[in-house]
């Protein structure tokens, strides 16, 4: 027998709906508790927590509608689910690595390196296309330099290494 929480990660339309509803309900509950017990400075009229509270109520109502809603539940598209997880991981790991690289190497160098590495990672045959990937990275560096240093002078943060 399939438990309700097992439905959440199925990737079907119904599973996605339920997962979103659970996220919304959690957010609405946590937010309402924060409104009731958090430190909110008194303000004229009903107060500055009015709109956040309304947003939580709307989210909770939408979550309930999503939970009771019936609809077609096509089979999970496993092939499409994997890229989304990869994308989330990419954003998480990539942002940490990128910001660390920016601190050490500067925004320009870190971005050019990032573009080169990403182009190589996306290549079917990295060894055969290494030159094209490096050229893409370097030419993007030239474009970035022209855009951000010559056309719109922007003060980039000083790198730690040089």
């Amino acid at each position: 027998m399939t438990r309700w929480w097992q439905h959440l990660s199925t990737g079907t339309e119904a599973g996605k709906r339920r997962l979103f509803a659970v996220v919304l309900l959690t957010l609405a509950l946590a937010g309402s508790l924060h409104v009731h017990y958090g430190a909110w400075r008194p303000a004229p009229g009903i107060g500055n927590h009015l709109v956040p509270m309304m947003a939580y109520l709307v989210m909770a109502a939408a979550a309930i509608v999503l939970l009771v809603q019936r609809g077609t539940s096509p089979a999970a598209a496993a092939g499409d689910r994997a890229p989304r997880l990869v994308a989330l991981l990419l954003a998480l790991v990539g942002s940490v690595v990128y910001v660390l690289a920016v601190r050490a190497l500067g925004v320009g160098v870190a971005t050019v390196l990032g573009v080169t590495v990403a182009t190589l990672a996306l290549s079917a045959e990295p060894r055969r296309t290494i030159l094209a990937c490096v050229l893409t990275g370097l030419s993007s560096g030239v474009i970035f330099w022209l855009l951000f240093t010559r056309l719109a002078p922007i003060a980039m943060p000083a790198p730690l290494l040089f």
Binding site: R17, P44, L50, V65, L66, Y98, L122
Partner: protein, 511 residues
């Protein structure tokens, strides 16, 4: 008004503005023609750059990108059956069939002319409707504005992809994100949870670029990485090698295009009406136009089999939303679509606040924008006609070279707009939020629109309640506000009935 026209025209026709509009057009068609890249993504990435530009030049660039991408999306749809944008999905139905029958040139030219006619008509409607509507909106007080914000958010949520509950929840989430930072009335911090970086609130640029561009780029990179062994270019190249293709026989003559006039007229009318409604996107307009054109056509059986009428209806329908989508933004300050939200952000960055007073306070710029909207269509016609053979090959550009560069531009652009690494963090956070919401099939448009109208909604609600001494009934005391609520309910009922009847609730694809 007339005395401002010479100044406005001088602004619109200055060489710099024309040049930027031209650059925007070429960039827009390129972006639209490459599947995976969209006009909204390009506008989002360009936002940090337009911050430093002159207002007219900035608007010229963005208008060029927008109009170019509207038509660009149909190029890959017709040539390869791969719609470059959501609005071009309906174009692919007959467009690709026409290509397979050896008449890609006729289909592309039909799409181009229909797109220009639809777009120009829609721009004219915007010009002649936005000014009187803005004059009406000047009489609005907090109660009426609150009603307008609520009705707009409901319409936006309800019409986006037909997923009402998800849309409403996304709009509420957007409003909540907009509340982070300082309360505009007391100056007290709220929802910052002790994080100093959040005390200034969430920036418009990191949120827009993150949600629209970074999330899509990350997904595209993830997909490309997963399927990196597949040579997309080779596959597409194989598709266009057609035996026996005679370019001389594939020319669109006047008689053939004239036979599509009914479809163009129906598409333009439907697209302009749907485009003016908050939340109804180009894709919905294209499908509605396609369906209506089939009904009025003398050859309905040809639809779906490479009919030029089908191409013309879909293309005029989606392009006719281009001008009309700005009507709620210019008249009331409410962005009716994701593209209008991005333009609203660009206007705010230029010191122009969208809303009923915008036309009075910035008359020269806005009238210059009207002129740019019209001449950009003519430029689009000339440039696209000239470069169609080149554009048709754009879909072969391998995404692995384009996506990392666009991501780099998005990151550097966001950093450059505020000189703050905090915004880069927020950009990645917004990108992850975008990926998560896309994974759950939650429309992103309502989230961004909720974020943009959130502060206005809060201001009007709190002012309205203060005026009514905290009596909630004061919010429905004004006849104008009641009229807005009833109008919104009537529109929702009409669309709900129409969706149920036609079973097209899943057709409308918003942002």
């Amino acid at each position: 008004m007339l005395e401002i026209l010479p100044d406005a025209l001088a602004l619109a026709f200055s060489p710099t503005v024309i040049l930027f509009a031209l650059i925007g057009l070429v960039l827009g068609v390129t972006v639209g023609a490459i599947p995976g890249l969209s006009g909204d993504m390009a506008i989002a990435v360009l936002l940090p750059f337009v911050f430093a530009m002159e207002p007219a030049a900035a608007l010229g660039l963005l208008v060029g990108v927008y109009k170019g991408s509207m038509f660009g999306g149909s190029i890959s749809a017709i040539t390869f059956g791969v719609p470059g944008t959501a609005g071009a999905v309906a174009t692919a139905i007959d467009g690709y069939q026409a290509t397979k029958q050896g008449k890609p040139n006729r289909a592309l030219h039909t799409a181009l002319y229909a797109s220009i006619i639809g777009d120009t008509t829609s721009d004219l409607v915007l010009i002649f409707l936005a000014v009187p509507l803005a004059a009406v909106a000047l009489s609005f007080g907090p109660v009426e504005f609150f009603a307008l914000y609520v009705v707009s958010l409901l319409l936006i949520s309800a019409l986006t992809m037909g997923k009402v509950a998800q849309g409403v929840a996304a709009a509420a989430l957007g409003v909540l994100i907009a509340m982070i930072g300082r309360d505009p009335i007391t100056g007290a911090l709220r929802l910052t949870f002790g994080v100093p970086a959040l005390s200034g609130g969430i920036g418009l640029i990191p949120l827009l670029v993150g949600v629209f561009a970074v999330s899509e780029i990350l997904l595209q990179i993830a997909r490309t990485w997963q399927h990196r062994a597949t040579r997309v270019a080779e596959r597409l190249e194989a598709q266009i090698v057609r035996a026996g293709y005679d370019p001389k026989a594939d020319r669109l003559d006047w008689a053939s295009f004239r036979s599509t006039w009914r479809s163009v007229a129906v598409g333009t009318g439907a697209g302009t009406f749907i485009g003016a409604l908050p939340g109804a996107g180009a894709s919905l307009a294209a499908f509605v136009a396609y369906g209506l054109a089939q009904r009025v056509s003398r050859r309905p059986e040809q639809f779906g089999k490479g009919s030029l009428e089908g191409v013309a209806a879909a293309e005029s329908g989606n392009s006719a939303t281009a001008g009309a989508t700005f009507i709620p933004l210019f008249a009331f300050g409410i962005p009716g679509s994701a593209t209008a939200a991005l333009f609203g952000a660009a206007l705010i960055m230029q010191g122009i606040t969208p809303g009923p007073t915008m036309l009075q306070d910035n008359m020269a710029i806005i009238y210059a924008l009207f002129a740019i909207l019209i001449y950009a269509n003519l430029m689009n016609l000339g440039v696209s006609k000239l470069l169609l053979p080149v554009y048709s090959r754009l879909a072969m550009i391998e995404p692995r070279y384009v996506l990392p560069v666009v991501l780099g531009l998005a990151i550097l652009g966001t950093y450059a707009a505020s000189n703050s690494l905090n915004d880069v963090w927020m950009l990645f956070a917004a990108g992850m939020l975008g990926v998560a919401l896309r994974s759950l099939d939650v429309p992103l448009g309502p989230l961004v629109l909720g974020f943009i109208v959130g502060p206005g909604l809060e201001r009007s609600l709190r002012q309205g309640l203060m005026l009514g001494r905290n009596d909630v009934m004061h919010l429905v005391a004004s006849p104008l506000a009641i009229g807005l609520y009833l109008g919104g309910i009537a529109l929702l009922a009409v669309f709900w009935w129409s969706f149920r009847r036609k079973g097209t609730a899943r057709v409308g694809a918003g942002p």
